[in-house]
Subunit: 236 residues, 2 copies
């Protein structure tokens, strides 16, 4: 069954946005009376399409083991293909927050006008992935920040590093025994973070971790970590 995010609720009626109306009418070719899931304000309902195909009527609540943990990725600014992949896949896998960071070695540059357009595009990808995977909530990208704006408000804050020294294995820092329900993750762009950037982030209290012997491409790192967190706390 399809799932959509509603934009307004009045009594038992939830209204859908223009994009979803188009999807319902022209892609799915659904008609009045078709059942869909509709999420409004973090609550998921079993609903039935109205004749206008722009609104639904609630049958009952249909909550679905909502994601309770926090998993925030500080995503280095990469090219559109890699960003789209990260946002789509990690949203399916349960990431809850994304913040884009412009590091010294990010080769992909965006002026502020283009950045705003991209952020709109990426937020759309995130919402579609959340609908597809039946999530009740979805991350929203707000802006692109610099290294010194990274926050250390996870119960675990990790910095993925290719260093061989002064790093702990990821498997020792993130385990089913450790409270991994509120994690902040920093990882570098191609070419890595500069020593200066790493120092700033470590000084904020981030722990340097190693992801193992095989070297992962930048965009594979958050896919790997989202998968592990999903496995450890949400795959039952």
């Amino acid at each position: 069954m399809q799932q959509y995010f509603g934009i307004k609720k009045e009594n038992d009626t939830i209204y859908l946005n223009e994009k979803d109306f188009n999807h319902i009418k022209n892609v799915m070719r659904m008609s009045e009376g078709t059942k869909v899931f509709t999420v409004y304000n973090g609550i998921r309902y079993l609903t039935i399409l109205n004749k206008d195909l722009k609104s639904v009527n609630i049958i009952e609540e249909a909550n679905n083991g909502d994601i309770k943990n926090k998993l925030k990725f500080y995503v280095p600014l990469l090219n559109d293909e890699k960003m789209s992949l990260i946002f789509q896949k990690c949203t399916e896998l349960g990431a809850t927050d994304y913040v884009i960071v412009n590091y010294e070695r990010c080769k992909y540059k965006l002026d502020s006008e283009k950045a705003n357009k991209k952020i709109i595009r990426w937020n759309k990808i995130i919402m579609e992935a959340a609908e597809q995977s039946y999530r009740n909530t979805y991350p929203v990208i707000e802006k692109i920040i610099n290294t010194d704006e990274i926050e250390n408000n996870g119960s675990v804050n990790i910095l993925c590093s290719l260093d061989k020294e002064d790093v702990k294995p990821f498997t020792k820092v993130v385990t089913s025994e450790i409270e991994c329900d509120n994690i902040n993750v920093v990882f570098g762009p191609e070419g890595g973070l500069t020593p200066q950037e790493e120092r700033i982030i470590v000084e904020k209290g981030y722990e340097k971790v190693s992801l193992g012997n095989e070297v992962l491409r930048t965009e594979t790192v958050p896919l790997f970590i989202s998968s592990v967190i999903k496995y450890l706390i949400r795959s039952e």
Copy 2:
């Protein structure tokens, strides 16, 4: 899997120190027959704990960097973009074998000439991903098979299912305690496997597993599973 440094080696037996004996017995609560990595004289071995828990017997060399486990994906025939993504990312994450399966609901069709060209292309993507991630070995795709040619030669054979009944949670079937070093994974195309196909595969001894509440796109399933296996056995 745990790793220890041996203090003495006689033929195929390596002896562990008192600290590790305590760790094995009182912290890990392992028993005779448990597999551990043991390093002696700079060489890393896959070993098996003896009854005294103070020594191990060598099964084989397991030098760091090389992937020793087997992780075989039966990949449904999907479009080129999805196939490329699966082969690139799962190779980075440590998959060792791919077999392509043409299921009834595979929308993407290839005649045998085009199939050969695609297989050459996908094998190139695999090799590049293997180089990128410093692997010593890489999977090779040979051909496209039908459902009845699927083999059940893993020590664990799982079928990822969207069913709510007669499925076990993935987290209960694939754990760090279970021998997950030789896994065969079957998953369906968009629209899933037909009941007939599922029956054939279950009759071959595959166990139906559920991957949790969030619904993953087809191509995300092997990324998730490769990540979990990497975490469980290769991220130390």
